[in-house]
Symmetry: C2
Subunit: 93 residues, 2 copies
DNA sequence: TAAATAGGTTTACATTATAAACTATTTTAC
DNA sequence: GTAAAATAGTTTATAATGTAAACCTATTTA
């Protein structure tokens, strides 16, 4: 009936990030920050957690002279998101 | 885009409780405990929070000689739940 | 060259979730 | 009758989480 909800996804900011990443090839840190209206500190921490869980991959490079952080959702991330949504339906329908 | 999710509802156990209460006239503590597979302590705390938020009402009485705690969802609770689900859709669709 | 901006990360704090321990009463077993 | 177990919860302590403030490094602007 009520299967446990993946605690990594059951978090407002991480869920928003995953939702955004599902829709695009990849996204920059600043893009995610703007879209989610989060602080950089909070976003940084949550991206770390998602990466450690294997739900996203993070690449650090440079855009001109400035650092650039780019995020991509992984296959495992897509699967986890889908499972989460499937489970969640039992709670909200 | 990503409206904040009511933190009182964005919690696995409280959401499960609200989901159950939406479907019935009223429910006993033990019923909620069994359905949610939670511990009594955790359930007790979460019911308190929902009551203090005005999302449920709690009545204490006796069933025979034993204490009986009965919960009902309030109008405000129904509204909050509906809003939560509506908001959540932006995250998971 | 001082101040502001960009792009983050680290750290500290406050809030939460959760289970363990506890209370009070009742039923069952001896 | 009384010791042990069960019922129905509440309170308390702890661990985990979420969040923003403070910080860092480099770059651009005044």
């Amino acid at each position: 009936m009520f299967k446990p909800l993946d605690p990594l996804l059951h978090s407002q900011l991480r869920l928003a990030v995953m939702s955004l990443l599902l829709a695009v090839e990849e996204a920059e840190f600043t893009f995610l920050k703007e879209k989610t209206e989060s602080t950089a500190g909070n976003l940084s921490v949550q991206l770390d957690k998602l990466e450690k869980a294997g739900y996203i991959s993070i690449e650090k490079s440079f855009k001109g002279k400035r650092p650039l952080t780019t995020c991509k959702i992984t296959q495992a991330g897509v699967k986890a998101f889908e499972d989460y949504v499937e489970n969640l339906k039992n709670y909200i329908s």
